[in-house]
């Protein structure tokens, strides 16, 4: 069993971060210049951290797998970023954002972390405005807001339907500023394949140059992983094609604990799957639920006619439509949290009311809003999303409702970290989606951007100083040590092994098989028997992978197939641990829905008595079942209650 301490500061909730900052150590400018930090990943978390650490004077090396830091998947976030500014005078506050986030996460996140997130949220908006991020504004020239799921106030800041892009361009520009100044060195098309640990501390990484295949060593006094989530374990997801969990997984295999791996977010508004040749799913922003109403027909005969394309959705009379979210959750209506909206869609489709040929789709309808506000207003709000929808489906959403269905979107689970965002390996940090810390069992919309930037701009730059203050006498890390040698050797051996198999199946074919197992058995609804099966089937598939995969080409060139094979090898291990975690958690909470544990109305039924803890999985060796450690969650400041979005 691992010994670990979450290092949550004592004192009243509102004073914890302030007191902690006062208590931790800082590093002098002269010493910062002597210290090296590696940041892996250049999404909102990584780019903002690298830029801010370099602003402070540290030497930063930053790595990304794309051809430019600007391509990281944060760029695809559409709807917005939350901040407790209370600009709308609607009684928002740090406390309310904190409370909504804890409740939205179904009481499975740390109070102290979430409060701090809400506390720094306002400064993020200020920072982005100063960088020249063109947020939407009203006619008076002030910042505009919209509403998002799980909240009854308007606190979401946005830049058209491209908020993630604009925030990332802001962070990327800050990164470029550091590169121009000379204390950030950027490595593009480089993938981290291992973390190197010397005397118990993270001291560097092993990377593969994706253009030349060269295996390289990089040393530093601290390593920050900002490598995003592992949603692509499902093969089909809204994640970018190259998003993967491998960096975090290497850390896990070196002793870092992996927390709550089964907490996966299934986003309710994605374009439905069209066939088995599909490689990627597309998200339609949650912001659409501000003005879109979700429904299916009340009558089965209408469903049949729609599936056969005999009638159009718009021809179904108002009284024959079941606006099921408004019916079930009057207080929040179409703006219930994502997990609730996804399950409700599944419930209607399972009951036979799905509206496309596969029976796996519901309507997202804008006709009420268009009648109320005019098409121009809707176009101004969501123009690019409507265009995106039409390009993919060939249907004009101004005339006919969109068809949507839930899809894998985000992973709340991730590397365990303490209040300082440090994993249980000293000197190894995890920020943004790569860690587990703030969203509990379900993340609210527009909070991923907030967390990535909170970690990178305003939390890590403070907390890492406390660790590095003990490193000021450590010389530059020497990469010619046996630890680096061994890590490099192991990476090379893994690559050689993959090329040597020369089997019959492609990486994608095996990945698709894994995706089916995960979606069917570890997806939106899980049960004990299914999870047992999942473990067995994943093990068998992993065995097949190592005997029957075919990786073409050579290592010494640009070769996406070996990149994918290395990532799939890790997904095949990750999926199994996700299943163990889902199996262990005998309750339903947030995105984790166990069919055995639901209320009579089909709502998630938590078991606070036994499961108010973070499940921290510890690696015990190749093919061995990992050990479960528990970090109890103590709710000192809010009353844990059943989530209620009805009244």
């Amino acid at each position: 069993m691992k010994q670990f301490d979450s290092k949550i500061p004592a004192g009243p909730l509102a004073d914890k971060w302030k007191n902690h900052k006062a208590a931790i150590k800082v590093v002098s400018p002269a010493n910062k210049r002597k210290l090296d930090i590696i940041v892996v990943g250049t999404g909102l978390g990584g780019a903002s951290a690298a830029a801010s650490l370099a602003d402070l004077g540290y030497n930063v090396k930053v790595f990304c797998i794309s051809d430019s830091p600007r391509r990281a998947h944060s760029i695809a976030a559409q709807g917005g970023i939350n901040a407790a500014k209370n600009y709308q005078n609607d009684n928002d506050s740090v406390y309310r954002l904190f409370y909504d986030t804890i409740k939205g996460g179904d009481y499975r996140a740390r109070e102290a972390n979430v409060y701090r997130l809400a506390e720094v949220s306002g400064a993020i908006i200020d920072q982005c405005v100063a960088q020249g991020v063109p947020f939407a504004r009203d006619y008076g020239g002030l910042l505009d807001n919209r509403s998002f799921g799980g909240a009854q106030v308007s606190r979401t800041f946005y830049a058209k339907g491209q908020t993630g892009q604009q925030l990332l361009l802001g962070a990327y520009a800050a990164l470029n500023k550091g590169i121009a100044r000379g204390n950030i060195k950027s490595y593009v098309r480089h993938e981290m394949l291992d973390v190197v640990i010397i005397d118990g501390k993270a001291r560097g990484i092993i990377t593969r140059n994706l253009v030349t295949g060269e295996i390289e060593r990089h040393g530093a006094h601290a390593v920050v992983l900002a490598t995003g989530g592992y949603g692509n374990v499902f093969f089909l997801s809204t994640n970018a094609m190259n998003s993967n969990g491998s960096a975090a997984w290497q850390a896990y295999k070196k002793g870092a604990m992996f927390a709550n791996p089964c907490f996966t977010q299934i986003h309710p508004t994605c374009i439905p799957v069209h066939g088995d040749q599909q490689s990627k799913l597309t998200l339609m922003s949650e912001s659409l639920r501000n003005d879109g109403r979700i429904w299916v027909p009340k009558k089965k005969e209408d469903v049949e006619k729609i599936r056969k394309k005999q009638i159009k959705a718009s021809s179904i009379a108002e009284e024959d439509r079941d606006y099921y979210l408004e019916r079930r959750y009057p207080a929040f209506g179409n703006l219930v949290p994502r997990d609730v909206a996804s399950r409700a869609a599944k419930e209607r489709c399972d009951a036979g009311f799905g509206v496309n040929e596969t029976g796996l789709a519901v309507f997202l309808d804008f006709s009420t809003a268009i009648n109320r506000l005019g098409q121009k207003t809707i176009e101004a709000r969501y123009g690019n999303l409507f265009q995106m929808y039409e390009k993919i489906t060939d249907v004009n959403p101004y005339e006919e409702p969109m068809m949507i269905y839930p899809a894998v979107h985000y992973t709340m689970g991730g590397l365990w970290c303490d209040y300082n965002l440090m994993t249980n390996i000293p000197g190894l940090y995890a920020i943004g989606e790569a860690n587990f810390s703030d969203h509990g069992a379900n993340r609210l919309g527009a909070s991923a951007l907030m967390q990535g930037l909170a970690d990178g701009y305003f939390i890590l730059p403070y907390t890492i100083g406390d660790y590095l203050s003990h490193e000021i006498t450590s010389p530059k890390v020497n990469t010619n040590t046996s630890e680096f040698e061994e890590a490099e050797k192991a990476v090379k051996a893994r690559i050689e092994k993959l090329f040597s198999i020369k089997g019959k199946k492609t990486v994608d074919e095996l990945h698709k098989e894994l995706g089916h197992i995960m979606w069917d058995l570890v997806g939106m609804a899980r049960n004990e028997k299914g999870l047992e099966q999942a473990v067995e089937r994943i093990k068998a598939l992993r065995e097949e992978f190592w005997k029957n995969v075919y990786v073409p080409g050579t290592n010494n060139s640009f070769n996406p197939e070996i990149e994918k094979a290395l990532r799939l090898a890790d997904f095949l291990e990750m999926g199994e641990v996700m299943a163990y975690d889902a199996y262990n958690r005998n309750e339903s909470c947030g995105g984790h829905f166990r069919e055995e544990f639901q209320t009579e109305e089909g709502e998630a039924k938590r078991n606070d008595e036994e499961y108010t803890y973070v499940a921290c999985w510890e690696y015990t060796g190749e093919g061995q079942k990992p050990v479960l450690n528990k970090e109890p969650l103590n709710f000192e400041f809010i009353k844990v209650a059943q989530r209620n979005y009805k009244e």
């Binding site: 998947h73 200020d126 405005v129 504004r137 008076g140 020239g141 892009q165 593009v188 073409p552």
Partner: protein
Amino acid sequence: MENKLNLTLKVWRQADAKSKGRFETYKVNDISTESSFLEMLDIVNNNLIHEGKEPIAFDHDCREGICGMCSLYIDGRAHGPDDDITTCQLHMRKFKNGDTITIEPWRSAAFPVIKDLVVDRQAFDKILQAGGFVTVNTGGIPDGNAIPISKEKADESMDAASCIGCGACVATCKNGSAMLFVSARVSSLALLPQGKIEGARRAKAMVAKMDELGFGGCTNTGACEAECPKGISISHIARLNREFLCAKLAE
């Protein structure tokens, strides 16, 4: 409605930056009109691997038209035969059964080929590193609402900022000019009070870097605007020229 297509592809294959490239021809059958263009290439690649051949290397990532990674020149058009889209948003319903489709990488002296259809666009990063930022450090910032910005200016800045850095403008321009890319960034920042302060210096530094990296000059053909997947207007080039002129006059 879903239909199936049988197609012939003529694809540029090039082992690496130093090797000579050539077109190879591939047949592909039973492609759903509902598939995206890149899903079609996924299928072709899966087939090639089974035939023991090396798959076609191409850049792609988000497949939602926003990351700017995909970069194919299809039948003589950057991002293929549709308007206001990236390659990943191109769907097979734009093609007919029996079509022959020619697929090339971006062609520009500033974007050397890495392999097949993959090019190196680090020149864009270098231009932005020359000055495409506001010089503010993290922290110590006034409230976001401290400086009101007119809605018109903010919206216009947003339009310019929607550039995804894909390089279609460069690939389309007969001179291989990066003026649309550079002007979009300069313009987006110059329109806001936060970015205006360094406007002249920024314009000068970015244009100088663009020239140094081997991009061509702009002759106002407007081809870039027509092929830009995000519909960035060449009016930003005019604004860049103004900023640049002011900077030069100030010297």
